[in-house]
Symmetry: C2
Subunit: 283 residues, 2 copies
């Protein structure tokens, strides 16, 4: 079994980001990401700081727009304001959102041309229709990792995605379908989940339950991408995959941390410089 | 094996359309569908006339907007004009389109509030995000037929969709996923297609190849929805399913004609009256 090295892939992407950002700056544009933070959750704050640090390291400005116990209308107003601001190229609306507010609904107020984390349903539809767009960065990271693996062919492979969220499961499935995999989406209502997962040449776990994907879910030699980032009591992170059990069976497996996470952050930055480039032609 | 009676389902839907249309007319609104026809193809002309006839029978006005060998810009201009016309509630852009023009791209110029055949990618995304929208009528017809079947449970069922088009395969898969089926999408690159199809409790055939789905594609007792409408040499229609071979194996099967087709037409009308109702609150 070989570990899939997310940090190496992220490094490569970030080198490209740094070069693109430098070029934009030479031409008078400081690529800028705005992160709307509608929660004072400590985990979120930590994550947002890590994005800011990564952004600034590669030459992307990062504005954190902290909102204090906002209602739905305040979040929407902020997203509209940033969408209209020519100094902002990429916009993320961080979760968790207040009770009763969904990202699918407020995400519709992020300009599709700045929606670098695919929160606007328009961009999910464009993904499904094969039009140019940004997928949610986590889903895009799954594909980026798979495409970096030498000798792995997605066309005709059986891919199983566990989880049907709008931000990971569904867009990952659409991306895999665009690569001509035969794609199955599983979820909490799936019967005999382990057996369905064992059909997979490529298994994507995005359920949010620590260690749920055990040895009996994995076909020998399969490629397994673990999207889970479940906090542990001691302040660490574990994935949805039982790493110890699965590493003896899978052909390739992403570790947590060090797999999907760093690539997701790198792609948020790549998407932001792409949006900044786009703003020159679609101001 | 029992035939799934599309005509009976369509009749029920159309009764509801007639009642809703009458109520709209009482309140001064004539629900109106506009069909943009960018081709002089005879099959298309026949189909569009059949929609017009059905519409007018149920009290829905239908404007056929025939374009003569249009380019992409002319089609877009017509869709924009109709989107802005307060007298038009639903818009369909008929295919085939001219060489190099895709429905996914020009469909973006149909107002999402009038896009009653789900041609705007925004509406595909809204479907994926679980937001209120109209699915393409053919995909919606697949679900309507399944939901009408007594004793058929979609939640937890294994559904296999053969075909990954933006107008049928992908939206049908998203709709089945919203019903909590475990959904697999197959296509021309799928390996051992027959074996994958045999996993299905619910099999949806949308490939556009006459009789391609034979006996060995069907698990005994499965429910099979045949979306194919392939013209025969003698002017008739046959489905993607080999009816004679599969009828001895499937539990339920839609005939062609008389299955998905009439329900699709009925849903175009239902969506149009819904759009007319919506225009009162979102003018």
């Amino acid at each position: 079994m070989s570990d899939i090295d997310g940090r190496a892939v992220a490094k490569e992407i970030r080198a490209g980001v740094a070069a693109a950002a430098a070029k934009l700056r030479e031409n008078g544009t400081a690529p800028t990401l705005a992160v709307v933070v509608p929660t004072d959750d400590e985990g979120t704050a930590w994550y947002v700081r890590s994005i800011k640090k990564a952004a600034e390291k590669e030459g992307v400005d990062c504005r954190i727009e902290q909102l204090d116990a906002p209602g739905r209308d305040e979040i929407v107003a902020k997203l509209q304001e940033l969408s209209a601001d020519p100094g902002v190229h990429g916009i993320i609306c961080q979760t968790p959102l207040p009770e009763g507010v969904t990202l699918a609904e407020v995400g519709g107020h992020i300009s599709p041309l700045k929606d670098i984390d695919g929160a606007n349903a328009t961009n999910l539809g464009r993904l499904g229709a094969g039009l140019r767009t940004w997928a949610p960065a986590t889903a895009a990271a799954v594909l980026e990792l798979l495409k970096h693996e030498e000798g792995l062919t997605l066309s005709g492979a059986r891919a199983v995605v566990v989880g049907r969220s709008t931000v990971v499961g569904k867009p990952a499935a659409l991306l895999l379908l665009n690569e001509s995999a035969t794609v199955t989406v599983c979820h909490s209502r799936t019967k005999d989940l382990a057996a369905v997962c064992r059909e997979a040449d490529v298994l994507v776990a995005a359920v949010g339950r620590a260690g749920m994907i055990g040895a009996d879910f994995v076909k020998p030699g399969a490629t397994v991408i673990d999207v889970g980032t479940n906090p542990t009591d001691d302040g660490g992170l574990v994935g949805d995959v039982d790493y110890a059990a699965v590493s003896g069976i899978a052909g390739r497996l992403t570790p947590v941390p060090g797999g999907v996470g760093p690539v997701t952050t790198a792609l948020l930055l790549r998407h932001t410089v792409e949006a900044a480039e786009l703003s020159k032609t679609h101001p």
